[in-house]
Symmetry: C2
Subunit: 415 residues, 2 copies
């Protein structure tokens, strides 16, 4: 079963927002056994939307549309859908009730533009929007399914999870697609490819291997499609086991999770705690950890010691160390990680200090110089990295570097 996603809105085409909706929808649909043939972003323009709908219908069975359902004048999706299906617009009573209820709840006056949100093409089935005023719409036309949803992520997500996917499962007989992802770090894509070339060559036609590189990590993804879920899983696991055995030293996780989540899972299982002392990463490591539910079982917290004063007052870094060696130095990062272990009373700690840039570099310590330390009570590992001159990339690479070092220390611990 093939689907296409069409996102409508000039904001994507001028680059003011990143289209995160499509990736999210694609993931959910894949889990349900629906392959995405194409994702297209088109403008709030009548002819362009009509053309995109017609093109998608030649390639796919299901067309999911997001965006352009707001109350304002630049939102024309609904009227264009009515034109595409050659039907009139009608007020939907359930949708009107929903809009009225929401405005009552927030004590806001119901404006005419809001009332218009309850108008839908006559041939649609309304999907109620529990999180907003714009109704979703489900169309059956010429053997194809069209679903139009708001572009606001949490409104769309609720509809997809609670309404659209259950309904698609109900009305369609879906094939099975299985993915298995292995997260590696510390080795490049081509090196890994060479290492496992014979395994890749031995894959049957219905199993594909993809390499997904990202900032010092490579995810290896096996994808299989077929009819028999149990058989596909067994097949995929067999090849995954061969790959894992071959590149074992680089494997961080045997499932599709980020590196920090793999660490949280491992530490939670062992009952270990973690704290951090962040300078140049400025809270990013803490944020990566705390975005995951349940992180509080492992992560106690830490300090963002952007100013030197906080390195001294909160972490106990010696004023002399800072003066003699500077904030970006082996000595400082060593005292930072020791200070985090001591003051925050965690089993493990991470400390990072560096020059993220674009300013602040010197000849001795150019932009991109980063010192990272990981430690437990008995062992401290310190490394110097020399990244590039892009601030955000330096922050991200520092975080990934710190997690990879911590992962190695955890596994080295002989636990």
């Amino acid at each position: 079963m093939l689907a296409e996603i069409i996102t409508i809105g000039d904001e994507i085409l001028i680059g003011q927002i990143v289209d995160t909706n499509s990736a999210w929808m694609a993931e959910k649909l894949n889990e349900a056994g629906i392959r995405i043939k194409q994702i297209s972003s088109v403008s709030d323009n009548r002819e362009h939307i009509l053309a995109a709908l017609a093109e998608a219908a030649t390639r796919a069975d299901i067309i999911l549309i997001t965006g352009g359902l707001g109350p304002t004048k630049d939102d024309i999706t609904k009227n264009t859908l009515a034109e595409y299906f050659n039907v009139s617009m009608v007020i939907n009573e359930a949708a009107l009730e929903n809009v009225t209820k929401i405005f009552k709840k927030y004590n806001r006056p119901l404006l005419e533009v809001n009332r218009k949100q309850a108008e839908v093409p006559a041939n649609c089935e309304v999907i109620l929007n529990k999180n907003g005023t714009a109704p979703g719409m489900w169309f059956n036309s010429n053997g194809k399914i069209y679903v139009s949803m708001p572009g606001v992520p949490f409104e769309m997500k609720y509809m997809v999870e609670e309404e659209v996917i259950p309904k698609l499962k109900e009305v369609l007989k879906l094939p099975v697609i299985i993915h298995k992802t292995i997260l590696t770090a510390g080795e490049g894509e081509s090196f890994l490819a060479e290492k496992i070339a014979d395994i890749e060559d031995s894959l049957p036609a219905n199993i594909k291997l993809a390499y997904l590189p990202k900032l010092g990590q490579v995810r290896l993804r096996l994808s299989a499609d077929g009819e028999d879920e149990a058989l596909l899983k067994t097949e995929v696991e067999k090849y995954a086991a061969q790959i894992i055995e071959r590149v074992n030293y680089a494997v961080v996780a045997e499932e599709d999770i980020p590196i920090e989540k793999a660490i949280l899972n491992y530490m939670a299982e062992k009952g270990l705690t973690l704290s951090v002392a962040e300078s140049c990463t400025g809270g990013y490591i803490s944020h990566l950890l705390t975005q995951h539910a349940g992180s509080s079982a492992v992560f106690l917290g830490g300090v963002v010691s952007y100013a030197n004063e906080l390195k001294e007052s909160v972490l106990g870094v010696n004023n002399e160390t800072l003066w003699q060696h500077g904030a970006v130095s082996e000595q400082t990062v060593k005292e930072m990680v020791a200070g985090a272990l001591l003051n925050f009373k965690s089993d493990y700690a991470i400390a990072v200090t560096g020059i993220a840039g674009p300013d602040g570099g010197t000849e001795d310590k150019p932009v991109g110089t980063v010192w990272i330390a990981v430690a437990n009570a008995s062992k401290t590992v310190i490394k110097k990295f020399t990244f590039g001159n892009k601030r955000l990339q330096n922050i991200e690479r520092s975080a990934i570097g710190a997690f990879f070092m911590l992962n190695t220390l955890l596994k080295d611990g002989g636990l």
Copy 2:
């Protein structure tokens, strides 16, 4: 001048990665006066890539292609381009030299798959890749320009900024497009639309107004196209000034910057400093601030006091307060913000404590309950928010709420 972006790779279509490249490219091209007609993501599949190229060529003058240039077997973009243009593959000496140099620099053996990266379709002009091994490629064919680039963001970005856009400017006579964005917070999209309906109605045909809502904020974007840049700027500024005057109380910034950047700019100008005490936001507020170059002039740092022990030891929150009222309470957030001001010696401080979820809620304090405090030496403002049950959204909304409160306090300060 119209362009299309085609991203190639199954990883986008199965939702494993979010396509951030396209938004970035769209923004850069728009700044250069090139409109993006459509963005399409297609799979690593020969027929599909060929069809996408042919379709794009019917709509646009410039076709930018990213992805599928890696050394591994799932990367087929280059060979498919050769097929599309009906040419053979040839080794490019400059590209080979670049690959060889990179492998020498990192002391890695040059494998046959890497050598293959220097092979390109015979009709292309090579764009050297300063940050990686896969060369970019520029094609002129039937009056259209095609550019193929790697999907790795920092490799692609360098090529676009340093090679592709300068070359496009050189060979094409480009129209002018002007954007002006006003960032508002605290009011909904439809409310703002009603407030400025008459201004919107008075816009000339070449100026469009778009509403871009996101988590408690709405960006109002005016876009104008034409020939005379100075005239367009004057026109757009005239309408922007009318809108700003009308909804003044909700305006956070008069340019397209995030709310935290508007705050950093304002505080830097006034010589003010900021620290934070984050519980449920877990470092996200610090990260938002520190992702901006120059933030260290304002932001001293802070604590991620995920565990109660850190609220006590680093911020000086009373053990009794935590016991009596709980970590998520008005009293605790008040002591947190006072502790941040005192211990981190900043002019302003933000404190946040709440239940991000999905677990940890109680009947009294359901998931989504968040207390936020902002303070300076003479004034403390505290608010309770009740968000939803989605963890990441609660973290993001808390951060935006905190910045909006701080923005109001800063402006209230009569400065």
